[in-house]
């Protein structure tokens, strides 16, 4: 009666779990901060190697229903490590390594407890890894909460700082409300279908009696709302700017890349595997969400004059682009999921790059620590440190989607093509208009780098880890701009 567990399939989260406990104990026994950072980054790299080792192998599934309980249905495995899962686990882990690199200096500067910080980061990454592998609703919710809970603490970890506490509280409240909404939705779906595993929910929804139809539809929309919070889509977006501003910047980078990538993976899994029968309901809802999210995000980003709030609003807008392909419903759904995945992967690289430069800049910003830095402080960066300015300009151009940054342009085209192919032309038009709005604020920031200098200086070295992170992101951006088809091929094979 003991359930066999495929330890190879769950190796990536397992490695991190053991490392996280080890880290916590090492910190309790006063291990030096340097060792903790090394252990944290090392375990993430080990998990990344495990993902790479799993990638060429077959699809692995574990925690399946035992034969006695299956009653002739599908295999119903809770944890599946297929190509889609491994691709997202790779993205999450690579981004997490960069976030840890960015954190090392911040931990020293802001007097953040190092052991707890690394432990919480690892715990959140475990949640993200499990979320992208989850194929039943219970595991999805548990993983989503494992991803969310440590982040509240991470945001508030800079103690005696009013903005950080406010940000943590705001994130907590919004998250709890959206989790409750999502759980309610899941309970409705479960009530209507009698199944928790997505491979059982999908057929049950197809042959649902007519009187249960509104129940299932309401449940599905509520589940959608839960994920909308995670990816900062519009009705649940307002936590983003305040939290990004109040949180330690590496945590903001984590929220805008790792947490968002996991959220999109979860959304794609639920919609494509669980609810394809109700695509006529969630398709238009996602379409409207996407249109409103990108428009509002872009319009408000126009009015920001601090770097971090601009990045926050622009990442809300980018969520809209990522949502857009899913609006096609069940027409050419695999293609749409591939487009969203490709956009998430490319966005992770360029956004992390931009965050890395801003983190380095923020630290160097004079002797007085400010909570954020204005865009005007970036004037003349090209003269004082040309390499960093070039990197930042390139990331911004990629985010805007202009030709030298082929990566961003390519991501936008993939999303456009999927949306038009799925017959949601109005959304493609909204997206085109929004891309133009986006061009403006990214380019205004990029142009400031090359104007005459202000007082702020970026002269001192931003620390080796931050510099390594900027260099890694810039290299990845350049490589992907030269050969963007790498991502598309990987994604098409995986989905």
């Amino acid at each position: 009666m003991i359930q066999g567990i495929d330890y190879a399939a769950i190796a990536p989260p397992l490695i991190l779990a053991v490392a996280a406990i080890g880290l916590l104990l090492a910190d309790a026994f006063d291990a030096p901060r340097r060792l903790l950072g090394l252990l944290s980054a090392g375990s993430l790299a080990a998990a990344l190697i495990a993902v790479a080792a799993l990638a060429p192998g077959d699809r692995r599934a574990t925690f399946c229903l035992p034969d006695g309980l299956r009653s002739g249905g599908p295999r119903s495995c809770s944890y599946v490590a297929d190509d889609f899962t491994l691709l997202f686990q790779g993205i999450v882990l690579a981004a997490a390594v960069v976030v840890v690199l960015l954190s090392l200096q911040e931990i020293t500067d802001s007097d953040i407890p190092a052991g707890e910080y690394h432990f919480l980061i690892l715990a959140a990454v475990i949640g993200a890894l499990t979320l992208v592998a989850a194929r039943d609703l219970v595991l999805l919710v548990v993983a989503l909460e494992t991803l969310s809970l440590p982040v509240f603490a991470l945001v508030g970890l800079r103690r005696y700082d009013g903005t950080a506490s406010e940000a943590a509280l705001k994130l907590f409240l919004v998250s709890v409300v959206s989790a409750a909404v999502m759980l309610f939705g899941i309970s409705l779906v479960y009530g209507a279908t009698g199944a928790m595993h997505l491979d059982r929910v999908a057929p049950a929804l197809e042959r649902l009696p007519a009187d249960l139809d509104p129940v299932a539809a309401a449940g599905i929309v509520l589940v959608l709302a839960g994920f909308a919070f995670k990816v900062a889509a519009v009705p649940f977006h307002f936590w983003a700017p305040d939290v990004y501003q109040g949180a330690p910047l590496p945590v903001a980078a984590f929220l805008s890349v790792v947490s968002k990538a996991a959220g999109f993976a979860g959304l794609a899994i639920v919609l494509a595997l669980g609810f394809p029968a109700y695509a006529h309901i969630w398709g238009p809802v996602v379409g409207v969400l996407a249109a409103v999210t990108m428009t509002l995000g872009n319009l408000l980003a126009l009015r920001q004059n601090t770097a971090i709030r601009l990045l926050a609003w622009s990442s809300v807008a980018q969520s809209g682009y990522m949502l857009a392909p899913l609006a096609v419903g069940d027409r050419r759904l695999p293609e749409a999921v591939a487009a969203t995945t490709a956009y998430v992967a490319l966005y992770a690289v360029m956004n992390l790059g931009a965050f890395a430069v801003v983190i380095g800049f923020n630290r160097r910003h004079g002797s007085v620590r400010t909570a954020y830095d204005t865009l005007d402080d970036y004037r003349g960066l090209a003269r004082s440190s040309p390499a960093v300015a070039a990197a930042l300009a390139f990331f911004l151009i990629c985010l805007a989607g202009l030709p030298p940054g082929v990566m961003g342009l390519f991501a936008k085209i993939v999303v456009f093509r999927a949306t038009v192919a799925g017959g949601v032309t109005w959304l493609a038009v909204v997206m085109a208009i929004n891309t133009v709005i986006g061009l403006y604020y990214y380019l205004v920031w990029a142009a400031r780098l090359f104007t005459a200098g202000s007082g702020a200086r970026y002269d001192a070295a931003p620390g080796l880890p931050v510099r390594a992170a900027v260099a890694a992101a810039a290299t990845a951006a350049v490589v992907l701009s030269i050969a963007p088809q790498i991502v598309l091929q990987t994604v098409t094979n995986a989905t």
């Binding site: 009666m1 916590l24 309790a28």
Partner: protein
């Protein structure tokens, strides 16, 4: 569906009757009793002792850590009970025993961490 909601009518009647008894008793009391308040009579009743201090009192915030630790162990101990009923049954055996000790190991790591951080020492 009709009979389903009708069954709630009994509940409604019960609420009305219950409320009526309490309200009627209080109203009768009020009509019958003499009412001569003095300053002494209006002070808060505290078992015959004169009340001390304001109504806003501090409690020691340090206790919250203990209650957290208690909640962790109380909730996690729940998992021990179903395990205890099956682990010696045929088909389980040493692996099941080992798994529970892994779980307990995780809990112990938490306690060890809390202890090393000085949470358990009383000041």
């Amino acid at each position: 569906m009709r009979t389903y909601f009708e069954s709630y009518a009994v509940l409604g009647a019960l609420l009305l009757v219950g409320g009526g008894i309490v309200a009627g008793g209080l109203a009768a009391n009020r009509l019958l009793r003499p009412n001569r308040p003095t300053a002494e009579k209006l002070t808060t009743y505290e078992c015959g002792v004169d009340p001390v201090g304001e109504n806003w009192a501090h409690s020691y915030v340090r206790y919250y850590v203990f209650s957290y630790l208690y909640v962790v162990f109380a909730v996690d101990a729940v998992f021990l009970f179903p395990w205890a009923t099956v682990f010696s049954a045929p088909g389980y055996g040493m692996t099941t025993l080992g798994e529970m000790f892994v779980f307990l190991g995780f809990l112990a790591a938490g306690l060890l961490y809390a202890g090393k951080k000085g949470v358990l020492s009383w000041v």
